[in-house]
Symmetry: C2
Subunit: 239 residues, 2 copies
């Protein structure tokens, strides 16, 4: 079950946050390429659609994750975001508009919660590596996608766990896409053999999984494929 | 609904982590005493018993929390602790034995997960204060009860949220019990009018809520009451 580590001669497990989107599928490929045995972690967190969880399951299987766990948490208890509360998703914004302030699709403390579950699982697995597909360029409006946030999380994580007390290992939060454009992410993933057709990015897909082509996430994805030169396999609905 | 703040002349909401135990009931009283309007947050996290959640509900109501939310999360998916997996709780250990290393009742990354949900709720509430009943003296084996951990969490939280980006407010993690002995906690709570009879500390209570009197938590609680001079209202079962 455990893959040998080509770099250090022993197995290396890593927890990989997997949303079912383009970015995290790429991260899973990067983790495997770097010799880690990926344990994929997804969340059912009160999203208005389950398309991305279906995609995550398929991606984890196709790409050979050692295990895939979906944790159910209900962020709707707190409300406060278009992705979890009953607020309309903004459509057809320009990239400039997306850059202006924190978008309404921001989910309070979402990455902090996701990384915390990843940390718990990593500790149980004896893993010290966690991969997350955050990106400081395309989504600069999200506070919990910034490099200084990831660095602070890593410092905290090293004090939070047994390994931190015992000084045996250091937790590392890997954010390999941090400084890549969407086009670079797609190009890198394609190079590593990622099939992007099952991935989903749309904030407002139709029940049968067709992308809206108008939300921020669809617009960035479409632009990314166009710029990368990789054919866009996304199924968009007629609007 | 919002209580005026005696110190600054406007309302101050705070999220208070409430387990149903003695410590967090005291923290709730401290938060109120400091002029905060407490929003109590509990977790159903795969504990083997629900006694403490019943206690938490009663305490939140009696002590006048503005709201009480219980979030269900399933840490059993990951396993790894006597409190969530099928491992026996250690009994009748001396205080010296309790101090030797991280106890098996440690739940991986539990406080990190709890604080992350508190952070999400605080952001939705517009609150910047979070209270947690961790203690560095009586439970020194838990990595996520140490002051350096709490400080690191606070730094991370200030980079994780909208307020951190906009620089409008700072998140503060209050751990008012950090350097208090169990006896001092009980004395302080009694001074503030806390009724400890509905609180529960036992790791292995009977189905009707009687404490075992033998687990680490019962032993520390019993010793605390004895040293504080406050009568112990705990209902222990005959062993």
């Amino acid at each position: 079950m455990i893959r040998p580590d080509p770099h250090e001669g022993h197995s290396r497990r890593a927890v990989v946050l997997l949303s079912g989107g383009l970015d995290s599928a790429t991260v899973l490929a990067v983790a495997k390429h770097e010799g880690y045995e990926p344990y994929a972690l997804s969340f059912r967190y009160g999203q208005r659609h389950s398309v991305e969880l279906t995609a995550a399951r398929g991606i984890a299987e196709t790409m050979g994750a050692a295990q895939h766990v979906t944790v159910a948490i209900d962020l709707r208890l707190f409300g406060g975001s278009a992705l979890t509360a009953d607020i309309d998703v903004p459509k057809n914004r320009s990239v400039d508009e997306m850059g202006g302030g924190i978008p309404i699709t921001y989910v309070p403390a979402r990455n902090t919660i996701f990384l915390s579950f990843a940390l718990a699982w990593a500790e149980v697995l004896g893993a010290s590596d966690i991969f997350i597909g955050v990106n400081a360029l395309d989504y600069s409006g999200y506070p919990d996608c910034r490099p200084e946030y990831i660095a602070a999380y890593e410092s905290m994580a090293n004090l939070a766990t047994k390994a931190g007390v015992e000084g045996t290992t250091s937790v590392r939060i890997h954010a390999p896409l941090m400084y890549m454009t969407k086009a670079q992410i797609i190009a890198r993933g394609s190079e590593l053999g990622v099939d992007y057709s099952p991935t989903t990015s749309c904030y407002d897909p139709s029940p049968d999984g067709l992308a809206c082509a108008q939300c921020d996430s669809c617009l960035l994805r479409r632009k990314g494929f166009a710029e990368s030169g990789v054919p866009d396999p996304t199924r968009y609905r007629a609007n």
